[in-house]
Amino acid sequence: MQFGRGKPAAGAFFDSDFQTVDSLLAVALLHGLQGKSECRVAIVTVSRNSLKVAGYVDMVERFYRGPAAVFAQVPPPGMITTGDGGVVSPGLTEPFAKKKADGSPLFVNRVARVLDTGDPSTLIRNYLQAQYEKSSYFVLAGRATNLAAALDFKGVKDLLKERSSHLVIAGVESFSADPAAARKVLAEWPTPVTFVPGEVGKAIPFPASAVEKDFPANTPDHPVAAAYAAWQAMPYAAPTTALAAALYATRQKETYFKAETGTVLVGADGKVSFVASASGKHTQLSVDPAQRDKVLAAYVELATAKVVPPQRFRPAAADAAKPPADPVKFPPKP
C-alpha cells in the first residue's frame, strides 16, 4: 500500500464463495496479470462462512506475494461469518496434505479461526481507500452477499463511485444463491456492471493439459494446480466463467467477447435472466467464436504464468540494498 513512484496499475478486488474451481483459476489469472503489471490484486474476500476456504485463499495469496510480503502487507482473507459454509471441495483442503522432500508441509494453513480472517466490508473499505480515482475494479464469482453488505457499509458506496470503475459478475451457479443480495448488487452498485453468463464458461473450458504441463513447467508445486487436480478426477476440463470475468475486467480494451446492453434480472426462484435493451444499465457478454482460441490462450498463459511477486513501489530494488535514508527529517532549528 505504499506508492510513491507514479500511478500503479488498477487494483483488482475479487470476491467469491469458491464453489467452483474456475474461481481459483481466476485468482491465478489475476496474479498472472499482476505479473505483467496490468493490475494489482488488492484483496480476495470469501462469501462463505468456511475457515477451510479462507485458509486456502490466504495460503494462495501468501504464495503469490512471496518475499515482498515483508514490505507489502498481505491482507487477511475477508470472510463472511454468517450462514452455512456448506461442503468444501477436497481441492481446497488436499493441497495442505502435500509434503516437501524433508517431510515438512508444502503449503501452510494459517487460518485456524475467525480471528485470522478480516471483515469483508472493512477490508473493501480500507483497500478502496488506497486506490486512485477510477483505478480499481471488482470481480464477483459466487453469491453476492459480501458485496451487498459492503454497499451498506459506511463510506463504501461513495468510495466505489470515486475509486472504482466497474464490476464484472461471473454467472456461476451460486451467484443467485443469495437472491436478495444479487438483486441489491445489480440494482445499487454505483459503477457499470457486466454479467458473464455460465454459457461463456462452458463454451471455452480450461484444458486439463494446462494443469498437468503448463503449471508445473512455470512454477513447480503450484497450489492452484494442486487444487484443480484434487477438485475432481483428472483429466477434466472445467468451465471458465470466473476466468472470463477476471480477464474481461482487467483487459477492457480487448475484444475477447461480444457485449450487449440490457438488464440482468434475478427471479424469486434465483433464476437469472437477461433482457436486452439499449436503455439497460447492465452489459452481458457472450462468446465470439472468432476469438475463442485467443481467449483460451490468454486463460492458459495468464493463469499458469510464472509467479512474479508484486513489485514494491518504493524504494526501488537497487535502493533497498543501501542503508535506508532517514525519511524523518529532523525538525528545523528554530
Binding site: 506508492f3 478480516g118 481507500q129 488506497a130 525538525p331
Partner: protein, 450 residues
Amino acid sequence: MIMKKALPRRAFLRGVGTAAIGLPFLEAMAPAMTPAAKAPVRMAFFYVPNGMMMDSWNPTYEGKLTEMPRILKPLEPFKDDILHIGNLTHNTGRALLDGAGDHGRCSGSYLTGVQVKKSLVEIKNGVSFDQIVANKIGKDTRFPSMELGMEDARQAGDCDSGYSCAYTNNLAWRSETQPLPPVLDPRALFERMFGSGQPMTPEEKSRQSKYRRSILDFVTDDTHKLQATLGPTDRRKLDEYLSSIREVERQIERAEKDNAQIDPKMDKPYGVPADFAEHFKMMSNMMAIAFQADQTRIITFLMTREGSSRPYRELGIPDGHHPLTHHRNQADLMEKVRLINTYHIQQFAGFVEKMKTTQEGDGSLLDNCMLIYGAGLSDPNAHLHEDLPTIMVGKGGNYFKTGRRVMARRETPMCNLFLTMMDRMGAPVDDFGDANGRLAGMDLPGLELA
C-alpha cells in the same frame, strides 16, 4: 471549606495567593457523592514512537497472562491488571494515496482515526476521541484534559516527508485544525496543577526559589483544619497524598538546580531534567496526583515524539532511536531497539506501581483507570500499521477482565477500542473514526473483553 458532615468531591485546600490543592478521594467524601459512591473512571494514553520489536512484545500464547514477553517484563508484577490486545489496526495511518510519511500519519491519526492532510501549512486532522470525552465530562474536573509529553513540542516545520510537526508532536486535537500541544516542563505542569501565579522567566524563578516555600506551606491552615475532621484512614491517606506532592516539588527543585549546574544554555525548558527517567518520574507522579485528586480524568502523554531520533546514552546507545528501528534485520540493531522499548516500559511500570499502590475506595486508583500504552506502528522496519502494540492497564472501574492476552479479528479498527473506552468514560457516541463496531460485545471467540 471544612465540612462537618461530608466533603464535596471537588474540595480544595486553599491558601494565600493562587495556591490550591485538590484532594484525593476520601472516605469522608462518600456521603456527598452519588448513592453508588463510585470513583470516576479515568483514561490515559502513553504513546511511544517508532513502533515496537513485536517479537519481544507479543506473547506466544493467548488467554491468561503468565510469563510476560521480554519488553513487557518490567510490568510482570502487574500482569493481572493488563489486557494485552492483538490485531488492532489503524488503516488511516497507512499511505493510502499519500506516499511516504508513515510516522507523520500514524501519530497524527492515532487518537483521531482520521487520515491527516499531508501538508506543512494546511493542517487538517479530526477531533481526537479524548477531546470528545473531555467535551462531555470535562466540566466535572478542574482540567477537562491534560496533554503532556517529554520531547520537542514545536508545532511548525516538516517532521516527516511533508507532514507538519503538528502531526508528530501532538496526540490530542480539539478541532480539525487545532492540536493541543503537550506540556513538557514539570515546573509548568506543577504550577498549572497547584497554582503559583504568572509565568516567570528562569531568572525570576531562580530568584524566587531562594525564598520559595513548599506549596504545602501555603495551605497549612486549611490542612490542619481538615485533618482535625478526618478519621485515621483518611488522615493517613491525606498525609501520603501531600507527601507525594512534596516529593514532586523536591524533584523539580533538584532538577532545576542540576540543570543550572550542567548547562545553563540548554535548549530545554528550565525545569526539564536532563535525565529521561527522572523527567518521566516527575511527570508521571503529577499524573498520578491529577488522577488521585480528580483534577482531570483524561491524560495524553507523548513519551517522545513520533520519528524521534533521540539517542539513549543512558543505555549505552548513542544511535538515534528512529534510524535504529530501520534495522534491516541486523541483530545488533534490533537488540538496541529492544533495549529502548524495554527502557520505556520500565518507566511506565514505575507509574503503574504508583497507581496500583494508591488506594481508592476498596481498591486501587489503577482499578478505576484505563491506561493505554502503545504505538502507531507495529513493525517499524516495514512501517506496518496492523497489529499495533497495545496494552490496557487497569480495569476501567472494575469492568475489564484483565490479566489476559486477547486477540481481535485481523484488521479490526483501533477506533473500536476507542468507542468502547468512550462508553466506559460516560461519553458514548454512535460512531468514531473508521470504527466498524465496539470492541466489547463482538461475538468472536477469544475476544470477551467485558
